[in-house]
Symmetry: C2
Subunit: 359 residues, 2 copies
């Protein structure tokens, strides 16, 4: 016999053998009195779509019998379509999931506020008290405030599901990276340097400035006796503040602000935090990022692969999902982890990483 559901407030109630067929064996809904279960509309839509439910009766709406098509078209939630697409996609991967809220989740199962769904480990369901990901659904045109990725220094949801305009879904894992390294830090003093339009040239610095601590690029390329170093304004500002150059740090910083405005201060705050954590930042320009980083530089002849791509954004920055997808794809393509550095007006930094995920 094909079961039917009925709306009761925000949930859909199903009786008969629904508890056994849908809840116990396949993780839909939560038990109510007797054998009844309550379903979120997205769960009911999935059962309609699979033809496990015959219809949902909209009692508050005058008793209309809703099909999958009419339920989808009549939902008051503008994001019901993308919520359904993600729910169905996770189910199609053989995983169970539920709304990230009680009473769907057993008491004591903590989920972050920003999550839409709790995805359970393979073979587990809502009864088991353990979740694999707290998943947040992002439509192609939903903007994502940078701060919303974090909550008190932890990820506000473990994962994002971004739905594009043709309804394909990309999943991202959200993390908080540890920024630390063991790179060499000893600096020279008062190296002769000239401030050009948007770079600094260091004349005849000790070889270690390039070879051990990896500042600048030799103007001569790979063959030099003592390198003439071209430094970026960020490198030069940091070096000048440390007394390593003959230039005034304030002149370099003023030039930096001339060419890139407040962004220079944000980038210098992040550059400084990385250097002070023993990590070497170099330009990430070719990768569309502010920095690529090397955690353990002892000798530029033996650099290894840079580990992180860092993008510096103001703490009130709002991402377009398209740009998130782009940055993560680029980082993935070059085998690096993408990290956003969120910088507030005082130069305080929060770090958050995004990586591609296959549920």
């Amino acid at each position: 016999m094909t079961l039917e559901g009925r709306f009761d407030g925000d949930v859909v109630i199903v009786g008969g053998d629904a508890r056994q067929r849908f809840y116990d064996s396949r993780g839909y809904g939560y038990p109510r009195s007797g054998n009844e279960i309550a379903l979120a509309p997205v769960e009911a839509a999935h059962l309609l779509y699979r033809e496990d439910l015959g219809a949902v009766v909209d009692e508050p709406g005058g008793g209309e019998r809703l099909s999958f098509r009419s339920l989808l078209a009549s939902s008051p939630r503008p994001d019901f379509g993308v919520q359904f697409l993600v729910y169905a996609d996770v189910r199609s991967r053989g995983l169970y999931l539920s709304p990230a809220a009680s009473p769907w989740l057993s008491s004591g199962t903590a989920v972050p506020d920003a999550a839409d769904f709790a995805v359970f480990p393979r073979g587990k369901g809502p009864q088991d008290g353990v979740i694999q990901y707290a998943l947040r659904v992002v439509g192609e045109r939903t903007t994502v405030p940078a701060r919303s990725l974090l909550s008190a220094g932890e990820p506000a949801a473990d994962a994002l599901a971004v739905v594009d305009e043709e309804s394909e879904i990309t999943y991202f894992e959200v993390g908080v990276p540890t920024i630390e390294g063991t790179s060499a830090t000893a600096l020279p003093t008062d190296v002769e340097a000239d401030l050009l339009a948007d770079r600094v040239i260091c004349w005849d610095p000790p070889r270690t400035l390039y070879e051990r601590t990896f500042y600048g690029q030799p103007l001569e390329g790979r063959t030099y006796e003592r390198p003439t170093l071209q430094c970026s304004l960020l490198e030069a500002a940091y070096l000048a503040q440390a007394g390593a150059l003959s230039l005034s740090a304030s002149a370099v910083i003023a030039r930096g602000r001339d060419v890139e405005g407040e962004r220079f201060d944000r980038r210098l705050a992040v550059y400084t935090a990385l250097r002070e954590a023993g990590v070497v930042p170099k330009t990430g320009y070719k990768f569309g990022a502010d920095f690529r980083t090397y955690a353990d530089v002892d000798d530029v002849e033996d650099l290894g692969h840079s580990e992180l791509l860092i993008r510096v954004v103001p703490h009130d920055h709002v991402f377009e999902p398209r740009d998130l997808a782009l940055d993560v794809r680029l980082a993935h393509g070059v085998r690096k982890r993408l990290v956003f550095a969120l910088v507030d007006a005082d130069g305080e930094i929060e770090w958050v990483s995004l990586e591609r995920l296959t549920p």
Copy 2:
């Protein structure tokens, strides 16, 4: 004997055996009276840097003897540093180049206005009357107006050299692509469809709508009898205009404008131009573009690789060099050609492509 030069207006004059040593055998400068040659400051800087010139005497400046360092630091051009870096980099690759202007180039050698340097084919020089690339130099912080890439429908320069903040250089070739294909075009009429928040669902369309003409994505995934198709608003607007859907085209277009503003009209103009050229556009979202395109779709089971990534921009768009680098890197990484579609207020489109280049 080490030669010296002297400034004469904007050029540096060198006598002695300079014509034979620098012009005839290595393509620097252009001949003046007798054995003298005239060098652009960037050429003189390169000869100073290589220690082929001992100094340049700044006669208008009171007779100061300029070294490489003082010439670099005293140039009135704020972009002299990046011009020098590109000049030196091309030379280090074993190619000759000169300023893209007469009298450096022999009369009758046409170069586009936007070019800074004429790069000669390997083994050739300024005397040979043939150039490999007309090269435009772009500093990391120089913005690039989209229209400046074209001049009367042709590339305004054959190639761009983009210098990043650590003085690394990336080269891009500029082209004008031909947009044409042979994809199937026959459409059904009056397919039942619902307009949801930002997509359209087509109920029970003929299988050919998806399988031959590649509109939409089946809600059912890969296994369906007749697919329920989710279409993007662009696909639905085009289909509705062609009478293929039961929806009003103006309602779909109004929804498109609601969700993405004028950008929707630009994207629909490009979508329409592609479809009318026999090319199938699908979303390029995962690649950070508006569309990926397939020129010859006959059956979705046998799609092949999409050829182009298309980014739609208003004709007065101004690129950041960083974003150009990012887009080209992404396209290159997925073996597609990057094409910008520049759309003016009347919906007229100019196409321009960018590809990575190794000189």
